[in-house]
């Protein structure tokens, strides 16, 4: 039956190209091949987000008056609503964690080097898009914690030089975080970001398939020296391994959703006193805590502004790294960039932990 369907389609649109691609595509086998799975895992979690997000849309109401109550309704009255919401929340966090792991693994393996600069650039855009998803989605339940965290987060946006004030009002839809901010974040979260992300995911995947998997520089050097590169068939050998990883991720998600439901907290009150312990989501904690530690003034500028500029320049450095790391482009080892990546990783982990426990 299945074969008949394939034949039917094949007769109308020649599938030989795809068949050939699947049959021929291979995945290099080496000691670092485990990192290949992170990309697919990120894609899987993104798919989970799309599916659960669409289901949440059926009941969610994007207004300051109804948002909290609608989420409350979803988790308490809608059949399996609790599961969908909890998986969406947990999957969002796992997605960003895996995306960062993917980012650092690609960086340390120098997979960004020529000819994969475009893959790296699209990947960086996707990482920023994931952070934007996280930031915008955090406010949507309209609870106390997310409300005040968004106030703090958007205020950091206001510290951007020259356009800070404009940016702040653009993000918030006014001078303060209100129902207008919620509407904007909702639109961004469910329409703008998904549309852009889908396009970039497609482009990213296309580039990966087109160029094949990168191999570490050492492996490439050995291949150039004449060593044969072992490969496994993409289909079914590699894809089955990837699916296995997805199943494990699904099991973790289900366990987290059942045992550690994502708390809804108290409804946001516009004029309430800021409760203690307000902090952003964990993936912004390192930046948030660093900004907190900066003195009020540095080099004649506001400390927070200097911090925001420094983070902006750091992000730009990571975006442009394929063009800055000349040694990797020549397939040579580049210990300086390795050291920078390790430093960034240690810094992020350390400051995230310190920020989490800081009062």
């Amino acid at each position: 039956m299945m074969q008949q369907v394939v034949d039917w389609i094949d007769e109308r649109i020649d599938l030989s190209g795809i068949r050939h691609f699947i049959a021929e595509k291979g995945v290099p086998i080496h000691t670092q091949k485990i990192w290949y799975y992170l990309g697919g895992l990120t894609l899987f979690l993104f798919a989970v987000q799309i599916v659960t997000g669409i289901l949440l849309l059926l009941y969610y109401r994007p207004s300051a008056a109804e948002a909290y109550e609608s989420v409350q309704f979803i988790v308490s009255d809608v059949e399996f609503g609790w599961l969908i919401r909890n998986i969406h929340s947990w999957s969002a966090n796992l997605l960003i964690a895996v995306a960062f792991a993917h980012f650092f693994s690609v960086f340390l393996l120098k997979s960004y080097r020529k000819p994969r600069e475009l893959t790296w650039l699209t990947g960086m855009v996707l990482l920023f898009l994931m952070l934007a998803f996280g930031f915008s989605g955090y406010l949507l339940p309209w609870n106390e914690l997310s409300f005040f965290a968004t106030k703090v987060g958007t205020a950091i946006g206001g510290a951007v030089p020259l356009v800070g004030r404009f940016l702040l009002r653009l993000i918030r839809g006014g001078d303060d975080v209100t129902g207008a901010t919620l509407s904007r974040f909702y639109g961004l979260h469910v329409a703008v970001l998904p549309a852009i992300t889908t396009a970039f995911v497609a482009l990213h995947l296309l580039l990966v398939q087109r160029q094949g998997m990168s191999v570490p520089i050492e492996v490439e050097q050995r291949v150039k020296a004449g060593e044969r590169l072992r490969q496994m068939p993409f289909f079914p050998n590699y894809i089955l391994r990837e699916v296995l990883a997805w199943y494990v991720a699904l099991a973790i998600l289900a366990a987290l959703a059942a045992f550690y439901p994502w708390k809804l907290g108290k409804k946001a009150e516009l004029f309430a006193v800021v409760p203690p312990g307000i902090r952003p989501e964990w993936y912004f904690l390192a930046m948030f805590h660093t900004l907190k530690l900066l003195p009020s003034h540095m080099l004649g500028f506001e400390g927070e502004r200097v911090g925001v500029i420094a983070f902006g320049l750091s992000a730009l450095f990571f975006v442009l790294v394929p063009f800055l790391d000349a040694r990797s482009s020549r397939s040579e080892r580049s210990p300086l960039f390795t050291a920078l990546a390790v430093f960034a990783l240690v810094y992020l982990v350390t400051f995230t932990i310190i920020g989490y426990f800081a009062k």
Binding site: W82, R241, L244, Y260
Partner: protein
């Protein structure tokens, strides 16, 4: 005059503002009183200028020693400074304290210049007080303005160091009323000695705890029930009214109670006066610690039956709330959304409070109706809580089954992958 001014300033709880005043306008420059008195070895005479130099509302408003004591501020010798021709009065005492203070503090036109919102009827009130009446009768041991507000170094009432700041009032009153020696010559209307344990009793009370430990400055001290300038014991028949100024709903219920006509001392009959302890449900009914049992006992005593019924109702609702609260807390800790149940429990607690309040009307039927409403609410929350427990079990079972299925697939995939690798 100066002392008097201070006294009434603080008495009324406000203060003279800055600026100098025509009455006792003090010229700037040398103050002969201070120059001499600070050099005196007799501490009674040297202390006043020292205290006056500390925060003092009168000095800060431009007043000087001569404004209360009279005399010549500019004189360089004692005889001239203390010249009666310059109005020297020395230390005001007894009725003179009152007249000195009144000179400014009962002058609305003058007070308007310094503290326009301050009352100017303190002297009239004082005249109606036990202190005022005894003073008028020649008893100079009684409290006058300076006794409570001080004579020198008078602080604003809102100053926490003022002896009449809410947290200090009781101790200030106790300085006389807790002294057996000072109070030995005073008796109650029936001739029994006036007790001196009021402060010690008050320190056990829920009011004292609220004031000193709960930082609730609105909690009552002596003056809240007895008055301040017009201080007097509330009449026996007025106690409920006095308590009712704060506990309005309880007073209203008590008014409708059969006890209204029976209790000579109103609220005091059950709650006491100075040592008002935290009320508990044990006070109700005919059990071991029940106050009702003082008068009511036996199955044929309607009062005892009603008291037991009300106590039973309240205990039933309290027990139901406690049980359901524990259930809701349990499912909440497991991550279930229980805000609706928490809201219902809060509403049930309101009914418990309403029932306890209604009890003061001594009407068991009305208490019963309120408690039944509360029990209905708790039952609803309990059913929802039990449902949440079931849901929790369902989720855990579902998870176990799902994980089992996923593990099967993972194992199958692993086997398939191994097979493929062997073939390769």
């Amino acid at each position: 005059m100066f002392i008097a001014l201070r006294i009434f300033l603080a008495v009324s709880g406000l203060s003279l503002v800055t600026a100098s005043v025509a009455v006792g306008q003090t010229p700037a420059g040398r103050n002969a009183c201070v120059s001499c008195h600070t050099r005196l070895t007799d501490s009674r005479l040297a202390k006043p200028p020292e205290l006056f130099a500390q925060p003092d509302i009168h000095r800060e408003s431009g007043f000087a020693c001569v404004d209360c004591h009279g005399g010549d501020l500019a004189a360089t010798e004692k005889t001239r400074a203390h010249d009666a021709a310059h109005g020297f009065k020395g230390k005001p005492a007894g009725q003179t304290v009152i007249t000195t203070c009144v000179r400014c503090h009962s002058d609305a036109a003058l007070m308007r210049r310094f503290a326009p919102r301050q009352r100017v009827d303190q002297a009239i009130e004082y005249a109606t007080s036990v202190h005022g009446k005894r003073l008028a009768a020649g008893d100079t041991k009684v409290a006058t303005c300076a006794s409570c507000h001080g004579a020198h170094g008078i602080r604003r009432v809102k100053d926490a160091k003022s002896p009449v700041f809410p947290t200090n009032v009781a101790r200030t009153c106790a300085s006389c009323h807790a002294s057996k020696q000072h109070m030995s010559s005073y008796t109650l209307a029936d001739g029994t000695p006036l007790p001196t344990n009021q402060f010690a009793e008050y320190q056990k009370s829920v009011h004292y705890a609220a004031l000193t430990k709960g930082d609730d400055l609105s909690a009552p001290s002596c003056n809240a029930c007895h008055g301040n300038h017009g201080a007097a014991p509330p009449g026996v028949g007025s106690v409920a009214n006095v308590c009712g100024t704060c506990h309005a709903v309880f007073a209203q219920k008590f008014e409708a109670s059969v006890h209204r006509q029976i209790f000579d001392k109103g609220c005091v009959e059950c709650h006491g006066n100075h040592a008002v302890l935290k009320p508990s449900d044990e006070m109700l009914g005919t059990g071991a610690h029940a106050i009702c049992a003082t008068c009511h006992s036996g199955a044929d005593d309607k009062g005892a039956v009603a008291a037991d019924r009300m106590r039973g109702d309240i205990d039933r609702l309290k027990g139901a709330i406690d049980g359901t609260s524990a259930l809701v807390a349990h499912v909440k800790n497991a991550g279930m959304e229980v805000s609706a149940q928490e809201l219902a429990l809060a509403e049930a607690r309101s009914h418990l409070t309403l029932g306890r309040t209604e009890m003061h009307a001594s009407d068991a039927v009305r208490v019963d109706a309120i408690i039944q409403e509360g029990l209905t609410i708790v039952t609803g929350a309990d059913v929802a809580g039990q449902r949440a427990v079931g849901e929790l079990k369902f989720r855990r079972t579902g998870l176990a089954i799902s994980l089992g299925a996923i593990m099967l697939v993972v194992v199958a995939l692993g086997l398939k992958i191994r097979q493929l690798d062997r073939q390769a």
